[in-house]
């Protein structure tokens, strides 16, 4: 019997929404870690019971949580479930320790909002990306921007310093949400290759397992930097890829929806007939690699949907030609936002599409976007949505 498990991170805790393959009736579990900001949760593709969560607070800092039973119970890696201490065990609290590798890549400054230079400081984990092959290996995208890796289930974290040490760091700058590495895409056909994106530096790719990185922003144009075609400085909001077609990437930039057919070496705009090409979320249909989804947001100054209407836009042509999807979504007096990590797709047939809003709704479509229903309506503001397809 197939099923799905939707993992929703919110401003005030995590929620787990479960259904069978029909995706009509839902069980809601949570809040987990109530009162904390849960920037992201994601399950391991090879062990769906293994879920990682980023629990964070401006007051109390960063906590990594892990579940080994599909979200029923949680613990900090290294601290066994139900125990405060483990005599003779590994030092606990280490799982929360993210220290830049300044020996390998000296800490530089980055550009601040006013153009002055500002120290690089750890703030939180935005995104957790479990390995495609090993449940104990997981990557973390960090603010201020860096990528870390754990190979022991999230207990110990080491930076992959080649990215921050790329040399262009002083030109990176924070977007409205901070200078965050928010997107990590792994290549199922090449374990040495991955893509990341930083607001506002742009997209980068490694072809050697994270040792070295190169900016891949050719074709992006950004009017908010002095040179609109600069190598770095672009505010990339999110990148999505159908894992069955590695190398074809879709990007929601600050403004502009973009596409690359050569693993990011070159990008072209595919915004086409969208009512606005500002937005955060973007994703790709699980079975139709030319079918993509975005949620247009009015502008960078107005972080809510246009005209009071919540509309997902779908392109079946890989961009340029877009259709609004509105059935079941509010079409008046709606002023929510949908953040970059708050859209996901399942792999059932028909493909399910999910997204969460700043108003606390999580919507699901069990028919590839033709119609929508709210799973829940009144959660705290949703920061992230991931989905696990269970068999």
């Amino acid at each position: 019997m197939s099923g799905v498990r939707v993992l929703a991170g919110t401003r005030k805790g995590a929620f787990i929404l479960s259904s069978d393959g029909k995706r009509e009736k839902w069980d809601v579990s949570g809040p987990h870690f109530s009162g904390w900001e849960i920037y992201h949760l994601k399950g391991s593709p090879v062990d769906p019971n293994r879920i990682y969560a980023s629990q964070t607070s401006g007051w109390f800092g960063q906590i990594i949580q892990r579940s080994d039973d599909g979200g029923k119970t949680w613990h900090q890696p290294g601290t066994p479930p139900g125990e405060q201490t483990a005599p003779g065990g590994a030092p606990k609290g280490e799982s929360n320790k993210f220290v830049y590798d300044a020996a390998a890549a000296p800490l530089t400054t980055h550009q601040w909002y006013d153009g002055t230079q500002h120290p690089w400081e750890f703030k939180r984990v935005w995104h957790l990306e479990p390995s495609l092959t090993d449940p104990n290996t997981v990557y973390a995208g960090i603010e201020d921007a860096a990528i870390f890796k754990s190979i022991d289930g999230g207990q110990n974290w080491k930076e992959l310093p080649g990215l921050r040490g790329h040399g262009t760091g002083p030109k990176w700058q924070p977007g409205a949400g901070g200078m965050c590495l928010h997107t990590i895409v792994l290549d199922p056909s090449n374990p040495q290759r991955m893509w990341i994106a930083i607001s506002a530096a742009g997209a980068f790719r490694t072809d050697d397992g994270g040792k070295t990185w190169k900016p891949i922003n050719r074709g992006l144009k950004s009017q908010y930097i002095p040179d609109p075609d600069a190598e770095v400085g672009h505010c990339v909001h999110h990148i999505a890829m159908n894992p069955k077609r590695p190398g074809v990437l879709f990007m929601q930039k600050h403004w502009d929806v973009m596409r690359s057919d050569d693993a990011g070496d070159n990008w072209k705009e595919v915004s086409g007939n969208l009512p606005t090409d500002f937005g955060f979320a973007i994703d790709v249909h699980a079975h139709e690699p030319e079918t993509i989804y975005v949620v247009p947001i009015t502008s960078d100054g107005l972080h809510y949907v246009m005209d009071g209407k919540l509309r997902v836009y779908r392109s079946r042509t890989g961009g340029n030609e877009w259709e609004p999807l509105t059935k079941g979504l509010p079409q008046k007096d709606c002023y929510v936002n949908v953040l970059r990590d708050a859209m996901a797709v399942d792999t059932l047939d028909k493909c399910g599409i999910y997204f969460g809003t700043s108003g606390g709704q999580v919507y699901a479509s069990a028919d590839a976007g033709d119609s929508w229903n709210p799973i829940v309506r009144d959660l705290p503001a949703v920061l992230s949505v991931e989905v696990q397809t269970l068999s």
Partner: protein, 98 residues
């Protein structure tokens, strides 16, 4: 025996209900209290003091005996009433927002 009062979120994180009590050898200072606290509750490492620098996190403050001790030296002796357990050492979140 030193008494420590933690913010709700940290009590939940450490799986403790009310006050925390600890044996802390003299001299009883903020650093000694927090070292002992983190030794007993390692999951609190990094939540009160930065992992690397051990500096107090910006949005937390230390109170005791109706005094704000946040900006005192971490090695300055705490009031006798704290060292004797008569008064608690309070870790409190700064007010922010509405």
């Amino acid at each position: 025996m030193i008494r420590i009062i933690l913010p709700t979120h940290l009590r939940n994180l450490a799986h403790v209900g009310g006050e925390v009590t600890l044996e802390v050898p003299a001299p009883v200072t903020p650093r000694a209290v927090l070292d002992a606290l983190e030794a007993k509750y390692p999951m609190l490492r990094g939540t009160i003091r930065d992992h690397g620098t051990l500096q107090r996190r910006a949005f937390l403050r230390y109170f005791a005996c109706e005094e704000d001790l946040s900006h005192e030296s971490p090695d300055a002796p705490l009031p006798e009433a704290v060292a004797s357990g008569k008064e608690p050492f309070i870790v409190i979140g700064a007010i922010a927002g509405g």
